[in-house]
């Protein structure tokens, strides 16, 4: 019954991340790619919002997009490569891309 939400826009320039959190239910997952990984800048408001997510709403991020931006992987986030990205889309019942 769960949805994997794909976010790619910076949370500081776009409301897709904030809106996505409103739609996130138990079992749903979040995958950050591109500029969306800026949400994992520690000390930022998006970082705190993601850290506060219940454990039944897992957060993933593309490792190479984090590395490119010099960001560390927080302990509440699971970094994945592109193969892991594909695997996640299969694990969840549906995906929802926030353009």
């Amino acid at each position: 019954m769960a949805t994997l939400h794909l976010l790619s826009r910076s949370p500081f320039a776009d409301t897709s991340g904030a809106s996505c959190l409103r739609l996130l239910g138990p079992g749903d997952g979040l995958l950050l790619s591109g500029d969306a990984v800026h949400a994992l800048q520690s000390g930022s408001q998006p970082f705190d919002a993601l850290r506060a997510l219940p454990a039944d709403r897992p957060c993933f991020a593309l490792a190479e997009d984090l590395a490119a931006r010099g960001l560390a992987v927080p302990d509440f986030v699971q970094a994945v490569d592109y193969a892991g990205f594909v695997e996640l889309t299969l694990r969840f019942e549906r995906t929802n891309s926030w353009l």
């Binding site: 949805t3 897709s16 809106s19 409103r22 239910g25 749903d28 549906r94 995906t95 929802n96 353009l99």
Partner: protein, 119 residues
């Protein structure tokens, strides 16, 4: 049995082609009897504002497309109540009868559908 689709419309009507394209997807799917629902979210709720005058910006009337939704069998129309209220709009004064949904019920709405597309 065709897969059910929830289309999430987040674009304001006159900011670009996004709003019209999302409606085109809904109308095309409806014409093929696909089970489609629409959720107006974020600035997408501005599509429901009554009294729009698109001619003032040399655009076609999007409201006419919205009115066509029930004719094409797209009758499950939802709007995020919080986004209406944040923008000073009331669910009782919209150009189309839509069902307001509280934030707490949004995840369940997604779970009722096989596919979700956000535009």
């Amino acid at each position: 049995m065709a897969k059910s689709l929830l289309l999430i419309c987040r674009r304001s009507p006159w900011s670009g082609p996004g709003a019209r394209e999302a409606l085109d997807v809904a109308l095309a799917g409806g014409a093929f009897d696909l089970p489609i629902s629409l959720l107006f979210l974020d600035d997408g709720v501005f599509q429901l504002q009554p009294g729009q005058q698109p001619a003032a910006v040399q655009q076609k009337d999007l409201t006419a497309n919205l009115q066509a939704l029930p004719l094409f069998g797209v009758e499950a129309l939802y709007v995020a109540r919080a986004d209406l209220e944040r923008r000073g709009l009331s669910a009782e004064h919209l150009s189309l009868p839509v069902t307001p949904v509280e934030d707490a019920a949004l995840a369940a709405l997604l779970n009722q559908h096989d596919l979700v597309i956000t535009l």
